[in-house]
C-alpha cells in the first residue's frame, strides 16, 4: 500500500513538473509530427498509401521511445543538477521505488507523441483511424508504455554512477528506432540483428499495437512486451542496488 502511494505520488509529482516544461512538451508534440510527416511522404512516394496508419503508429512510437530515453536518462542528471538526487537516495525506500514513478511518467508523457501523430495524420493526410481491435489496441499501448517506462528505469540507474551517461542516451535513440521496426520492417535488416530486435520491448510493443490496429495476432507480442518489461524491472532493482553502493563509495551522487 505504501509502495503504491509512493509510486502514485512520484508519478503525479513528475507529471506536474513535466507539464510545466514547455521544452519537454514541445519536443513531445512537435518532433513526432515532423517524423510522421516524413514517414507519410516516404510511404506515399513508395506507392504504399494503404499503410499510412502503419507509418503513423511507428512515428508515434518513435516519440514514445525518445521521451522515455531522454526523460529517464535525464531524471537522474537533472536531479543531480537540482541537488535533489541525494534526497532521493537518502530517503528510506529503495531507489527503484523512488525513481520508478518518474520513469513511468516520462513514458506516459510519450503518449502525447502518439496522440499528436495520429491527429496530424488524420487531419493533414486523411489517415483513416479504424482500428481492427480497439480494446486490444488500448491494452497494447498501455503495456508498451509501461514496459518502456521499466526499460527507462534500467537506463536511469546507470546515471547514478556515471555523471555523463547522457552520451549513452544520445547513442540509443536511432538504433532502437531501426532495430524495433518503428520506421520500416525489421525484415529489411540483416539476419544477425534479429536477436537484438527480440530483446527490445519497443519491437514487441509496436508489433502488438500494429496488429491490434491493422489486424494480426496481438497476444503473443503483448506477452513478450510485458515479460521484457518485468525483466527490466528485475534488472533495475539489481542495478540500482549495485550502483547506489558504488556511487556512495565513489562519491558521484552530488554534482561536486
Amino acid at each position: 500500500m505504501s509502495a503504491l502511494r509512493i509510486v502514485w505520488s512520484g508519478f503525479v509529482t513528475n507529471l506536474k513538473m513535466l507539464s510545466t516544461s514547455s521544452f519537454f512538451l514541445l519536443t513531445s508534440v512537435v518532433q513526432p509530427v515532423i517524423f510522421a510527416t516524413i514517414a507519410f511522404y516516404m510511404f506515399q512516394s513508395g506507392g504504399r498509401s494503404g499503410t499510412l496508419l502503419y507509418a503513423a503508429l511507428g512515428a508515434g512510437m518513435m516519440g514514445v521511445w525518445s521521451s522515455t530515453l531522454f526523460g529517464s536518462g535525464g531524471i537522474i542528471q537533472w536531479q543531480r543538477w537540482q541537488g535533489t538526487l541525494e534526497l532521493g537516495v537518502g530517503a528510506p525506500p529503495p531507489m527503484t521505488l523512488v525513481y520508478l514513478p518518474f520513469s513511468l511518467a516520462n513514458s506516459f508523457i510519450g503518449l502525447y507523441s502518439m496522440a499528436a501523430t495520429l491527429a496530424w495524420g488524420r487531419i493533414v493526410f486523411g489517415v483513416p483511424l479504424h482500428f481492427a481491435h480497439p480494446w486490444q489496441f488500448v491494452l497494447a499501448l498501455a503495456a508498451t508504455v509501461l514496459s518502456l517506462g521499466l526499460m527507462g528505469l534500467v537506463l536511469a540507474s546507470t546515471f547514478i554512477l556515471y555523471r555523463y551517461a547522457n552520451a549513452l542516451s544520445n547513442l540509443l535513440e536511432y538504433p532502437v528506432w531501426v532495430a524495433s521496426g518503428l520506421v520500416f520492417s525489421t525484415a529489411l535488416l540483416p539476419e544477425w540483428t534479429r536477436p537484438i530486435s527480440w530483446a527490445l520491448p519497443p519491437y514487441w510493443g509496436i508489433l502488438a499495437i500494429r496488429h491490434a490496429a491493422l489486424g494480426g495476432p496481438v497476444w503473443g507480442p503483448l506477452a513478450m512486451v510485458t515479460l521484457l518489461g518485468l525483466a527490466a524491472l528485475g534488472i533495475s532493482i539489481l542495478t540500482f542496488r549495485l550502483f547506489e553502493r558504488l556511487a556512495r563509495a565513489r562519491a558521484t551522487l552530488a554534482l561536486t
Binding site: K16, T20, V98
Partner: protein
C-alpha cells in the same frame, strides 16, 4: 539541554576521494578529506562542527547520513551502523543542506513536502496536519502554494528545514543552514534550530558563523584538514585561549612579509587579517605574558597604522588559534 546516551558516534572515521589530473598522461590522486575523526553526540544535544572550507565537515555529515561510505572507521546513529543499516538510519534522521539547491523548483512548497511526506511514510490524515504544522514552525504559512522558483534564499532555507523535520526525526543534521541568508532571516532560522532542541531533537550543526555556534551549541568540535583539533563547550574552547590576549591593529596596506614578521614576534601564537574596505584589521593572538603593542608596531615600520586595541578572546579567536595551529 544535553541529556542521555550517545546518539551519534564516529570512531576513527576516514574518507579519501580518488581524483585524477592530466588528459593524455592521467595521474591518479588520492585526497584525504577526513582523516580519522572521533566524536560523539549525546541525546538532546546540539553539537557543532566548525571548520574552514574544505575541512571535511560536509564529508563527515554525508557519511553519517549514509550518502557516502567511509573509507575506514565506524559511525553509528541511534546505535545503528550507517553502512550496514543505512535504510534504518534513513528512516530516523532528517538532514538539511545549505544553499539554493535541493528542492523541486517547478512545484509549490506544499507539493514538495507532500512528495517527501510519502517518501518518509507520513501518509493519510496525518500528512496534511503535519505539513501545516511544519509550515507554521518554519514561518512559511501563507506562502505554501507558491512555486519554489519564486522563493527567496531565506524562504528556501526554511523549506529545506521543513522538509528535513517533516517526518519528525529523532536526529537532525544541519549543514550550514544559514549560509547566504540575510541577518534577520538567519536570526529566525537560529530560533527554529533552538526550537528543535527544545522539542527534544538531537542536532548536529555545521556552520562558519562563530556567534551562531556560540549562541546555539552545547558542544563544539573544531575540524581542520580532516582532523578534529579541538573539542568542548564554547566556554571551554574560549578558556583555551583565555590566558592569552588579542591585539587588533588597523593598518592600510600590509603584505605577507610583514605578517610573517609579526608572527615571529616573541609570544605571538597566531596572526590573521580581515579586509575592512580601504583598511585591514590585523588580529594578533599572543600568550599574554608581555605587553606587545610596542614590539608589534616596531614590525609595522613604514606601514600606515590606525587604531590599536586589546580585548578578551572570543570563540572566533579560539577557532582561529586551533585552525592555525593545525
Amino acid at each position: 539541554m544535553a541529556g542521555g546516551g550517545a546518539v551519534i558516534e564516529a570512531r576513527e572515521l576516514r574518507r579519501t576521494y580518488q581524483t585524477s589530473t592530466g588528459v593524455v598522461r592521467r595521474k591518479r590522486l588520492e585526497v584525504e578529506a577526513v582523516r580519522g575523526i572521533s566524536f560523539s553526540v549525546r541525546e538532546g544535544e546540539l553539537f557543532g562542527l566548525l571548520g574552514p572550507n574544505g575541512a571535511g565537515k560536509t564529508t563527515t555529515i554525508k557519511m553519517l547520513i549514509t550518502l557516502l561510505l567511509p573509507t575506514s572507521g565506524e559511525a553509528r546513529v541511534l546505535g545503528l551502523d550507517v553502512v550496514e543499516h543505512a535504510r534504518e538510519v534513513r528512516k530516523r534522521i532528517g538532514y538539511v543542506f545549505g544553499g539554493d539547491r535541493g528542492l523541486y523548483e517547478r512545484l509549490s512548497a506544499r507539493d514538495n513536502l507532500r512528495y517527501f511526506a510519502e517518501l518518509y511514510g507520513v501518509s493519510g490524515k496525518a500528512q496534511r496536519a503535519r505539513i501545516d504544522e511544519v509550515f507554521e514552525l518554519v514561518g512559511l504559512k501563507g506562502r505554501e502554494q507558491e512555486r519554489v522558483e519564486g522563493y527567496s534564499r531565506g524562504m528556501r532555507q526554511r523549506l529545506h528545514i521543513a522538509r528535513g523535520i517533516l517526518h519528525d526525526p529523532q536526529v537532525v543534521f544541519l549543514d550550514e543552514p544559514t549560509i547566504g541568508v540575510d541577518p534577520v532571516g538567519a536570526r529566525e532560522l537560529r530560533q527554529t534550530i533552538a526550537d528543535l532542541i527544545a522539542a527534544g531533537k538531537t542536532v548536529l550543526l555545521t556552520t562558519h558563523y562563530m556567534f551562531e555556534a556560540d549562541a546555539l551549541c552545547d558542544r563544539i568540535a573544531v575540524i581542520a584538514r580532516g582532523q578534529i583539533v579541538g573539542e568542548g563547550t564554547p566556554d571551554e574552547l574560549k578558556a583555551g585561549v583565555a590566558e592569552g590576549q588579542i591585539t587588533e591593529i588597523e593598518v592600510f596596506g600590509v603584505d605577507d612579509a610583514i605578517l610573517a614578521r609579526l608572527r615571529g614576534v616573541e609570544s605571538v601564537t597566531a596572526v590573521t587579517v580581515e579586509e575592512r574596505d580601504q583598511k585591514q584589521l590585523v588580529i594578533v593572538q599572543s600568550t599574554g605574558e608581555r605587553e606587545l603593542t610596542a614590539p608589534l608596531l616596531a614590525q609595522l615600520d613604514g606601514v600606515e597604522v590606525g587604531r590599536v586595541s586589546s580585548r578578551e578572546p572570543t570563540l572566533e579567536d579560539a577557532y582561529v588559534a586551533l585552525v592555525e595551529a593545525a
